[in-house]
C-alpha cells in the first residue's frame, strides 16, 4: 500500500494550493493509511493536518522542506520527538537570524541536529536534483553520500517523483542508479502541491504572485501540467509499476515515523516563588489576601467558593498559570496601566480575588464551570483587556523580558485570502489594469447579508462587468477558489504563549515585522488545540479612552477618579441610557443597541449586563429579545420552561440570555455536572459535529426523562440550548463589558470634555466616525475649538472656557500632517510665539507645502498673524508664496540656510523677527459651504454648523422633519427626513433589511429599508452621502424610525462625509 510522504499544503505560502484538511480528506477518500505534510520552512499547517487526520482517522506524519544556503531544500521527515525538536530548532535558528519570510540553513547547522530526522533526496528542488544539474551522476553520488554522513545511511531515502516529464524521468534514472550503487532504498512520492487536479490553476496564480508576474508573462515558471495532485495508491502503483520497491518502501518508512503531535512535550513555566513555598501555597496566600480585600474577612460564601476553585486548580496543577497571569496584572497595576480580565475568567472568584477580573462572580452567582472544570482537562483561557497602543506593548515586553526570547512568543495570525485581497491579486495575475482591479475589488465584500438577488452576476453587472466574458468568469472562479487559503503569517493582536524551558523545541519561532517581537508558527486556535497555554493581552480602544480620560481629568479638573469605586446606580447615567443617548459609549452605542435601550429602560447595573448581551446573534436568532422585553414591560407573563429552572432563569424573567444559564439548565434538568454542561456547550458551539451533537442531545434527553420533564418541554429546552451555544454571550463576559460601558457612560455624562478629547485621540475605534462623536458632543453643550497652530497640540486638549472646559482639536486630525512636524510646531511655539506663516516656515523648515496648504485650508493658520480679519484664503495666499521653492540661483543657499549678502548675525536677527510682509490677500473669503468642504477634506469633520444646518430653512419649506422633531410625532404618520448617512447596515440576522442612520444638526434619525425598496434604490442607498427619505414614522415604545418608501439623493454639500458601513 502506498503512503504519500511528500506533500505541501497551502501553508507553504504560495507554493501549495490546498488546505491541510482537504489533503487529509482526499487522503482518506483514497483509502491511504497516512500521509506526511512537508511545508516549506515550517510546520505551519501541522496542527490542522494532525487534527483533521485524527478525526478521519489517518496517520499524520510531520516534516518540513528546509531551505539550504545553496538554495535547495532538505525534505525532512520527523521520526521521533527528538527529531521534531531538532526540526523546530533548525527552523527557528534560520528564521530568527533572517528578515521575515526569509532564511536558510548551512550544512554545519544541519549536522548539529539530525537525530530523529529522516532525509529524502527530494524532487526538482531537492539536494539530489541540484547536484545532478551541477555535476552529473558523480556529483549526485557525492551528494547522497554526504546526506548519509549527515543523517545516517538508514535515514536517507532516494526519492522518485513522476509527473510525466522527460527531464524528471532522466533524473529518476540517475537516482535509481545511485540507489543501486550505494544500496539505498528507493521511495516513491508525488511531491504533492494540491489535493485535486483542478487546484493547479490556483497554484499557477500563486506562482505569479510570488514572482510578481502575470499568467501571460510567467512562462515556464508555471506548472508543466496538473500532475502534482494527491494520487490514489492504485495510480501511484501503476506509475511505479517498474519499481515496486519504491512503493513498498513508503509503507516501511511510514511505520518508522513514530512521532505524532500529541507527543509535543509542552510544559507551562513554573512561577518563581519564595524559597520553601510551593506555587499552590503562594497562590492560596495571594487569593486569601485578595478575598479579604474584595469581600472582607467574613464572607463565608466567597471563602467557600474560592476554596472550591483552589481545590480544582490544585488538582489540575494550574497554580503556575494563575500566578503568571496575576504577575502580569500586578505589573500593569504598578505601572498604572489599566487592565481588566474578560471572558469566562470573570466566572472565577479566584481571578476576582487576585484582581485579574473586576466582576464579582459570587455576588452575581456566576458559574465557575464555564471557566474551568475537572472533566474537560483543558487549559483555562484568560483574556486581559489593556489600553491599545504603548501601554499594551509595555505589558507584552514585560512578559518577553520575564520568560526570555525563547520562552515566550506571540501567537500567529494566519492572514488568509479574503474577498478584496483575493480579487486584487487575481486581477493582477490576469493582467487587468489597476482601474479595473479597483472596480472589481470594490464589488467584493459589501453587505453581511446576501439575498437571492445579490448574485455575483448582478453585482458584476451593476459595476459594468459581463460575467459571461471568459476572462471575467475566470477571475470570479479563481476568487472563489483562493478564499481562505493562507497568504502569509501575521501576528495575533495579543495572544502570548509561554513555555517552561525552550519554546523553540515545541514550535518554530519567527521574527515578527514589529521589532522585538517573536511569533510562533501556529495561530491561537492551533496553540489551544495543541494544549499550549496562551494569555491574551488584548488592546481595547475604550480602555485607552478611559485611561486617557482619567489622566486629563486629573490634570485639568484636579480630580482623581478610581474606576473601581464609581458611584453605583448614578441616576444621570440611567436617564441617559434610557433615552438611548449613547454615542461613544462602549458596547451600547450601535444603532441596534440604541433601538433596544428605550424598550429595555435600564435601571440598574445588571440591566446594562443584559443590554450588552441581548443585541447579539444568539438572542436574536433564538428569538429571545422580544419575549424578554415584553416580560420586562409587563406585557407578557413571566413563565419558565420548567419549574425547576426558575432559580436559573428568574434573573432574566424566564428567558435564557446567557451561556451560563444554558449550562445550569443542563445541570438542573438533566443532572449534568459542570464539566459535562460545558462539553454540551462546546458540542453545539462553532465547531459543530453532527455525531457529537447527537450524542450530547441524547444524553441530555435521557437526563430530562429521568427528571420527568415532558417531551415538549424537552424540545423547548433543547432548542434554546442549541441556538444559544452557537451565538450566546457568557454572562461573566457581558458583566466585564458592562463595567467598561458603565465607566464610559459615567465619564461621558460627567466629564464630557475630557471623554470627548480622549475618544478623539484614540481614533479609529468604536462604531462612529470622529465627526459624529464631535457633533454629538456639541449637541450636549461642549464648546469645540478648531485646529489652530498657535494653540493646538498633536492631540486634542482642553482649554478653559469660563467655568468649564472647551475642547481644542489636535493637529492629529489634520489629514497628511506628520506627527514630527506637529511636534516641531509645538516645540517652536513653546520657545516663542509664531508670528507669521513665513515665521512658521522658517522655524519648521521640514514642513511641506501640502501640509501648510491643508493647515491654511482648514483655518489652522487664521490666528498666526494676530489679525482678526485674517481668513483662510489669506492664509492660502501666503502659503503659496512661502512654500514656493527658491529658483536655481538661491537654491543651494536656501538649503544651507544661508543668506548670501548679509552677515550671519543679521541673518539670525531676521530669522527671529521676519520683516513684515503684506498679509492681506485679494482673495474672497470662503463661503460657508467652501469652509465645510475644506474642513471635511482636511480633517474629516467640522467644528462649525452641521452641513444640514445650512439648509434647514429650505428643507423646512419642503416639509422635511429634523431628527429631534420625530420624537414628538405620532406613530404611523408619513414623514420626510434627510441627513448625512453615518451608518449603513445589512445584518445577517435581518433577512435583507437595511438600516440607515441619518445625521442632521439636531441628532440621528434611523431609517429602515425593506428588501424591495433596497432593490429599487440600492445604487442611491449605497453611494449617496446625503439622502432624502419619505416613509411611515414608526414610534414604538420610544424607538423611532422611518420605514422608507421613497429614497432620493440630496444635494447638500460637496463635503466628503464618511460613514460606518456594512458591519
Amino acid at each position: 500500500m502506498y503512503t504519500e510522504l511528500h506533500a505541501r499544503s497551502a501553508f507553504s505560502f504560495l507554493e501549495g494550493s490546498s488546505l491541510p484538511e482537504e489533503l487529509a480528506a482526499v487522503c482518506a477518500e483514497h483509502g491511504m493509511p497516512g500521509m506526511a505534510l512537508l511545508d516549506r520552512d515550517g510546520v505551519y499547517g501541522a496542527p490542522r493536518f494532525y487534527l483533521a487526520a485524527k478525526k478521519i482517522p489517518i496517520r499524520a506524519h510531520i516534516g518540513a522542506e528546509v531551505t539550504s544556503t545553496e538554495g535547495w531544500r532538505y525534505p525532512l521527515l520527523v521520526a521521533s520527538r527528538p527529531g521534531y525538536q531538532s526540526l523546530c530548532r533548525l527552523i527557528t535558528r534560520m528564521k530568527l537570524r533572517a528578515p521575515k519570510g526569509k532564511g536558510n540553513i548551512s550544512i554545519q547547522e544541519v549536522a548539529e541536529r539530525t537525530g530523529g530526522l529522516i532525509c529524502l533526496t527530494g524532487g526538482a528542488e531537492g539536494p539530489l536534483a541540484h547536484a545532478l544539474t551541477q555535476g552529473g551522476i558523480e556529483n549526485g553520488i557525492a551528494c547522497v553520500r554526504q546526506l548519509c554522513d549527515l543523517f545516517g545511511r538508514k535515514n536517507v531515502y532516494i526519492e522518485l517523483q513522476r509527473h510525466l516529464s522527460r527531464e524528471e524521468e532522466a533524473r529518476n534514472q540517475a537516482a535509481v542508479h545511485i540507489a543501486r550503487k550505494l544500496d539505498l532504498p528507493l521511495l516513491a512520492t508525488n511531491g504533492v502541491c494540491y489535493a485535486l487536479p483542478r487546484r493547479r490553476g490556483t497554484l499557477d496564480v500563486f506562482t505569479c504572485i510570488r514572482n510578481h508576474k502575470t499568467l501571460a508573462s510567467a512562462g515556464r515558471l508555471l506548472s508543466l501540467n496538473s500532475e502534482r495532485y494527491l494520487k490514489s495508491p492504485a495510480k501511484m502503483e501503476r506509475l511505479f509499476a517498474d519499481l515496486p520497491e519504491a512503493i513498498a518502501n513508503t509503507q516501511e518508512l511510514s511505520s518508522r515515523l513514530e512521532f505524532s503531535l500529541d507527543d509535543l512535550g509542552y510544559k507551562f513555566p513554573i512561577y518563581p516563588v519564595p524559597d520553601g513555598e510551593s506555587q499552590m501555597h503562594f497562590l492560596r496566600e495571594r487569593s486569601r489576601e485578595g478575598m479579604i480585600h474584595r469581600y472582607g474577612s467574613s464572607n463565608e460564601r466567597a471563602r467557600l467558593q474560592i476554596e472550591r476553585e483552589l481545590t480544582i486548580i490544585e488538582k489540575l496543577d494550574l497554580a503556575g498559570y494563575f500566578l503568571i497571569v496575576w504577575d502580569i496584572v500586578r505589573f500593569c497595576r504598578e505601572q498604572n496601566i489599566l487592565v481588566q480580565g474578560r471572558g469566562s475568567a470573570a466566572n472565577s472568584a479566584v481571578c476576582y480575588a487576585l484582581g485579574i477580573t473586576a466582576v464579582d462572580p459570587v455576588g452575581m452567582d456566576l458559574l465557575f464551570e464555564r471557566f474551568l472544570s475537572e472533566e474537560r482537562g483543558e487549559w483555562p483561557d484568560i483574556d486581559l483587556d489593556l489600553p491599545s497602543g504603548d501601554q499594551r506593548e509595555r505589558a507584552i515586553q514585560y512578559v518577553y523580558e520575564r520568560y526570555g526570547k525563547l520562552g515566550a512568543a506571540m501567537t500567529a495570525n494566519v492572514i488568509t485570502y479574503r474577498g478584496r485581497s483575493a480579487a486584487r491579486e487575481i486581477g493582477k495575475a490576469l493582467s487587468f489594469d489597476i482601474e479595473t482591479i479597483n472596480r472589481l475589488t470594490k464589488l467584493v465584500g459589501a453587505w453581511e447579508y446576501k439575498d437571492a438577488n445579490d448574485t455575483l452576476v448582478n453585482q458584476f453587472r451593476d459595476a459594468g462587468f459581463d460575467l459571461t466574458h471568459p476572462q471575467i468568469r475566470k477571475f470570479f472562479d479563481l476568487c472563489l477558489e483562493v478564499q481562505d487559503l493562507p497568504r502569509h503569517l501575521g501576528q495575533h493582536s495579543g495572544g502570548l504563549v509561554v513555555c517552561q524551558g525552550q519554546l523553540d523545541s515545541i514550535v518554530p519561532l519567527e521574527p515578527a515585522t514589529m521589532p522585538g517581537r517573536v511569533v510562533v508558527q501556529w495561530d491561537k486556535d492551533d496553540c489551544s488545540a495543541m494544549g499550549i497555554v496562551k494569555v491574551d493581552l488584548l488592546g481595547l480602544g475604550m480602555m485607552a479612552v478611559l485611561e486617557d480620560s482619567l489622566q486629563i481629568i486629573k490634570e485639568k479638573y484636579g480630580e482623581e477618579i478610581d474606576l473601581g469605586r464609581l458611584p453605583a446606580n448614578d441616576p444621570v447615567i440611567y436617564e441617559t441610557l434610557q433615552k438611548a443617548d449613547t454615542v461613544g459609549m462602549f458596547q451600547i452605542e450601535s444603532r441596534a443597541q440604541m433601538s433596544c435601550l428605550p424598550r429595555l429602560l435600564p435601571k440598574c447595573f445588571y440591566d446594562i449586563v443584559v443590554q450588552v448581551a441581548i443585541i447579539r446573534p444568539g438572542p436574536i436568532v433564538g428569538q429571545m429579545v422580544n419575549p424578554y422585553l415584553k416580560r420586562r414591560q409587563g406585557r407578557e407573563p413571566v413563565d419558565y420552561l420548567h419549574p425547576s429552572l426558575e432559580p436559573v432563569l428568574a434573573r432574566t424573567l424566564g428567558v435564557p440570555l446567557f451561556q451560563e444559564q444554558l449550562l445550569r439548565m443542563a445541570m438542573i434538568a438533566a443532572d449534568f455536572t459542570g464539566g459535562e454542561a460545558e462539553e454540551l456547550r462546546r458540542a453545539f458551539g462553532f465547531k459543530r459535529s453532527e455525531v457529537r451533537m447527537k450524542a450530547v442531545e441524547d444524553k441530555l434527553r435521557i437526563g430530562m426523562d429521568r427528571n420527568g420533564i415532558k417531551s415538549e418541554i424537552q424540545d423547548k429546552i433543547v432548542r434554546s440550548i442549541t441556538s444559544f451555544a452557537l451565538y450566546g454571550f457568557p454572562e461573566s463576559h457581558a458583566a466585564s463589558f458592562a463595567l467598561i460601558a458603565y465607566a464610559s457612560a459615567y465619564l461621558k455624562c460627567h466629564y464630557l470634555p475630557a471623554f470627548t478629547a480622549a475618544i478623539l485621540n484614540n481614533q479609529p475605534m468604536g462604531f462612529y466616525q470622529p465627526v459624529t462623536l464631535l457633533k454629538d458632543a456639541q449637541r450636549h453643550g461642549l464648546k469645540v475649538r478648531p485646529v489652530d497652530v498657535t494653540r493646538s497640540d498633536w492631540l486634542c486638549t482642553l482649554e478653559k472656557n469660563g467655568r468649564d472646559f472647551a475642547l481644542r482639536l489636535g493637529m492629529r486630525s489634520v489629514h497628511g500632517l506628520r506627527a514630527e512636524i506637529a511636534q516641531a510646531i509645538v516645540n517652536e511655539r513653546a520657545m516663542r510665539p509664531l508670528l507669521s506663516i513665513d515665521d512658521l516656515k522658517l522655524r519648521v523648515p521640514a514642513i511641506q507645502k501640502s501640509e501648510l496648504t491643508t493647515l491654511a485650508k482648514i483655518g489652522a493658520l487664521n490666528f498666526i498673524q494676530g489679525k482678526s480679519n485674517f481668513h483662510r484664503r489669506d492664509a492660502l495666499w501666503q502659503v503659496e508664496r512661502v512654500a514656493r521653492l527658491a529658483g536655481p540661483l538661491l537654491e543651494t543657499l536656501e538649503q544651507r540656510g544661508e543668506c548670501a549678502t548679509e552677515p550671519a548675525q543679521e541673518c539670525d536677527a531676521e530669522k527671529s523677527n521676519p520683516p513684515p510682509t503684506s498679509t492681506l490677500s485679494p482673495l474672497q473669503i470662503m463661503t460657508a459651504d467652501e469652509r465645510l468642504v475644506a474642513d471635511f477634506n482636511g480633517t474629516g469633520m467640522t467644528v462649525g454648523p452641521h452641513p444640514m444646518g445650512y439648509h434647514r430653512q429650505r428643507l423646512k419649506k419642503q416639509g422635511v422633519r429634523s431628527a429631534s422633531e420625530l420624537r414628538g410625532l405620532p406613530n404611523g404618520i408619513r414623514v420626510l427626513i434627510c441627513g448625512a448617512v453615518i451608518a449603513r447596515q445589512r445584518p445577517g440576522t435581518a433577512k435583507g433589511f437595511v438600516f440607515l442612520s441619518l445625521e442632521d444638526e439636531t441628532g440621528i434619525a434611523n431609517a429602515i429599508i425593506t428588501p424591495p425598496i433596497y432593490e429599487k434604490y440600492h445604487l442611491l442607498i449605497v453611494h449617496q452621502p446625503f439622502l432624502l427619505i419619505e416613509g411611515e414614522l414608526q414610534n414604538q415604545e420610544n424607538v423611532i424610525s422611518v420605514k422608507a418608501e421613497i429614497v432620493g439623493p440630496l444635494s447638500i454639500s460637496q463635503a466628503e462625509t464618511s460613514s460606518h458601513d456594512f458591519h
Binding site: L164, N225, D462, F465, R873
Partner: protein, 514 residues
C-alpha cells in the same frame, strides 16, 4: 471626440452618444455629448454599464476618424485663409487679416466657416477676436459663433471658467483653493503677487485670462511628404504596364528625394480601383472621385534602411503586388514616400562581407511572395511549456557584436540528438493497449510500436480560451512493409514523437528523431 463619430454617422446628430475606449471587456467611457450626460452617463464608467442606458448610443472611439475630422477642419480653414495655425487636435486658428475685403465682414467669415464646416460634417465653435489666445479661449468656452470686438476681450472672457486656459493640474488646484473659478477673477489678481506665487505660468495665465496676451500665429505647413499621383485614362489590369507607370513615379519621387538629400523609409502605394463592368454601368453617373473613394487598394512598403534606388524599389513593389494583387482594375495611383535621412555607414575592416541590405530585402520579399508574410523571418522560442511553440520575428542579419557572441557559444550546449519536427504536424491513427500506443499509422503507412516511452504530459494557458493539453510519446515504429517503395518517404522505420491532443481529441505525429 463625439463630433468625429457623428460626422461618420449623421443619424446620431440629435441623439445621446457616448464613446468608449480600451479593449473589451475593460473598456470605459471617454467622451459623451450633453444629451448622454443628461441621461446619467459619467466619464470613466464601464462600457457594459453604459450599455444599460438604453437611450444612449455607445460607440468606440476612433483615432482615425478624429484625425480625419481634424484634417477636414484644416481643409475648411485653408479654404478661407492661407494663414492657419494648427493649434491642437480639434483646434485651429485662422489669420483673418485682410480677408474682410474678400468676404465683406468678420461675421460673414465666421458664418462661412460654420457653413463649410457643416458640409464636412462638423459643428465647431467659432470665435473671432483681435488676439489669438482670446479667440481660442472664447471658442473653447462659448457655443456657436462669438465675435469679440477689439478691446472688449477682458469683459467677454471674464465669465469663462479658468479651465479654458488649460492650466497645469497643480495650478488649477491652487486656483480652486483660492476660489478663483472664472477668468475675470484670475485677471483681477495683482500680477506681481501672482508671479511670486505661481511663477511664470501664473503670469502667462493672468495675461490670457484678461485677454491681453498677444502672440504671433505659428503657421502650419503641410506635412513634408512626397506624393506623386497619376490618374489613368484607361484602367490597368496587368502588372507589366503597371510596372512601367510605377517606375516613372518612383523615378520622380526618388529624384525629388535626392534633390533634398533624403531617402525613403517607407512607401505607401494606393490604387483607386474601378468597379467591375457590371457595376460600372450602375455608377456611371457618379464622378470618378467618388468612385475611387468607394474602392481603394493600399500597400505599405516599410524598408529596413532608407533607400532611393528606384530599380530596387520597383522590384520590391512588384514582389509585393505579385503576392497580394489588387482586386480590380486600377484607375488611379498615389505613391507617397516617407522621407528619412539616407543611410551613412562604413563596414569594419575585418567584418566579413554580408549580403547587401537592399539585395537581402529583395530576396526576403521574394520568399515572402512564395510562402506568405507570416512565414518569413527568424524563429524565436517562446517562454512556455507548450511543445514546439515559437514565433517569427522580422529577419535581421546579426550585428557584428551579436555575431561575435554567437561564435563564443560553447559547443557542449548543442544537443546530441536532432529532432526533425513536422510542420504542420501529421494526423496519425494510433491504437493503444493499456494506455500505451502499440500500432501507429500516418502518411498511408502503418506499423507496430517496438518501444514506447511516455506519456510526457503538458498543459497550460488554462485561463485562456485556447488552452492546451497534450500527452506525448516517444515511440519506435517498425512499419509493416518498410521495403515497399509505395510507402511515403516520411514513414520510415525509426524513432518518432507522437502525441494525443486532448483539445482536438486526436493523435498527431510531431516529428522524428534523426
Amino acid at each position: 471626440m463625439v463630433q468625429t463619430i457623428v460626422r461618420a454617422e449623421p443619424d446620431l446628430r440629435d441623439r445621446a452618444v457616448a464613446l468608449v475606449d480600451g479593449c473589451p471587456p475593460l473598456w470605459k467611457i471617454v467622451a459623451a455629448n450633453e444629451a448622454a450626460l443628461r441621461e446619467g452617463i459619467e466619464l470613466g464608467m464601464g462600457g457594459s454599464q453604459a450599455r444599460q442606458f438604453f437611450k444612449v448610443e455607445v460607440r468606440h472611439r476612433s483615432p482615425e476618424q478624429e484625425k480625419a475630422a481634424h484634417a477636414a477642419l484644416l481643409d475648411v480653414g485653408w479654404s478661407i485663409s492661407p494663414r492657419i495655425e494648427n493649434t491642437a487636435p480639434g483646434t485651429i486658428v485662422l489669420d483673418l487679416a485682410g480677408l474682410t475685403s474678400l468676404f465683406k465682414s468678420l461675421e460673414n467669415i465666421a458664418a462661412l466657416l460654420a457653413e463649410r464646416s457643416a458640409t464636412v460634417g462638423l459643428r465647431p465653435n467659432i470665435a473671432v477676436a483681435s488676439n489669438i489666445e482670446a479667440a481660442i479661449h472664447a471658442a473653447r468656452g462659448f457655443a456657436g459663433i462669438t465675435l469679440i470686438p477689439a478691446g472688449e476681450e477682458p469683459e467677454r472672457l471674464s465669465s469663462l471658467p479658468v479651465k479654458v486656459l488649460l492650466p497645469s493640474t497643480e495650478i488649477l488646484e491652487t486656483l480652486q483653493r483660492w476660489g478663483i473659478r472664472a477668468c475675470g477673477a484670475l485677471a483681477a489678481l495683482p500680477v506681481l503677487q501672482l508671479s511670486e506665487r505661481l511663477g511664470p505660468e501664473g503670469v502667462f495665465l493672468h495675461q490670457r485670462a484678461g485677454g491681453k496676451y498677444c502672440r504671433s500665429l505659428i503657421l502650419a505647413e503641410p506635412e513634408t511628404c512626397f506624393t506623386e499621383e497619376l490618374a489613368l485614362e484607361y484602367a490597368v489590369t496587368e502588372l507589366e504596364p503597371l510596372s512601367f507607370l510605377l517606375h516613372r513615379l518612383l523615378d520622380q519621387v526618388c529624384a525629388r528625394l535626392e534633390a533634398r538629400s533624403l531617402a525613403a523609409s517607407a512607401f505607401c502605394l494606393r490604387f483607386g480601383l474601378k468597379d467591375s463592368v457590371e457595376e460600372e454601368s450602375n455608377v456611371k453617373n457618379k464622378s470618378s472621385v467618388s468612385m475611387m473613394e468607394s474602392r481603394t487598394y493600399e500597400k505599405m512598403l516599410r524598408l529596413p534602411v532608407p533607400m532611393r534606388d528606384s530599380k530596387t524599389l520597383l522590384k520590391l513593389l512588384r514582389l509585393q503586388l505579385q503576392s497580394d494583387p489588387p482586386n480590380g482594375s486600377i484607375v488611379k495611383i498615389i505613391l507617397t514616400a516617407e522621407p528619412a535621412r539616407p543611410r551613412a555607414g562604413q563596414k569594419g575592416l575585418f567584418v566579413p562581407d554580408s549580403p547587401d541590405r537592399e539585395k537581402l530585402e529583395v530576396t526576403i520579399a521574394r520568399i515572402a511572395g512564395l510562402v506568405g508574410n507570416s512565414n518569413v523571418g527568424s524563429p524565436q522560442l517562446v517562454d512556455t511549456h507548450r511543445p514546439g511553440e515559437f514565433r517569427m520575428f522580422p529577419f535581421s542579419p546579426a550585428s557584428e557584436e551579436s555575431a561575435g557572441s554567437e561564435r563564443r557559444e560553447p559547443r557542449s550546449c548543442r544537443t546530441a540528438i536532432a529532432f526533425r519536427m513536422f510542420r504542420p504536424e501529421l494526423l496519425a491513427h494510433v491504437e493503444s493497449r493499456e494506455g500505451c500506443p502499440f500500432r501507429v499509422g500516418f502518411r498511408g503507412a502503418r506499423g507496430n510500436v517496438i518501444a514506447a516511452s511516455g506519456p510526457w504530459r503538458t498543459s497550460g494557458d488554462w485561463w485562456e480560451t485556447h488552452g492546451w493539453r497534450e500527452d506525448e510519446w516517444d515511440v519506435e515504429i517498425h512499419f509493416d512493409s518498410s521495403g515497399n517503395k509505395k510507402i511515403s518517404r516520411g514513414a520510415q522505420n525509426g524513432l518518432y514523437r507522437i502525441y494525443y491532443d486532448w483539445m482536438r481529441r486526436g493523435w498527431f505525429v510531431r516529428g522524428r528523431y534523426d
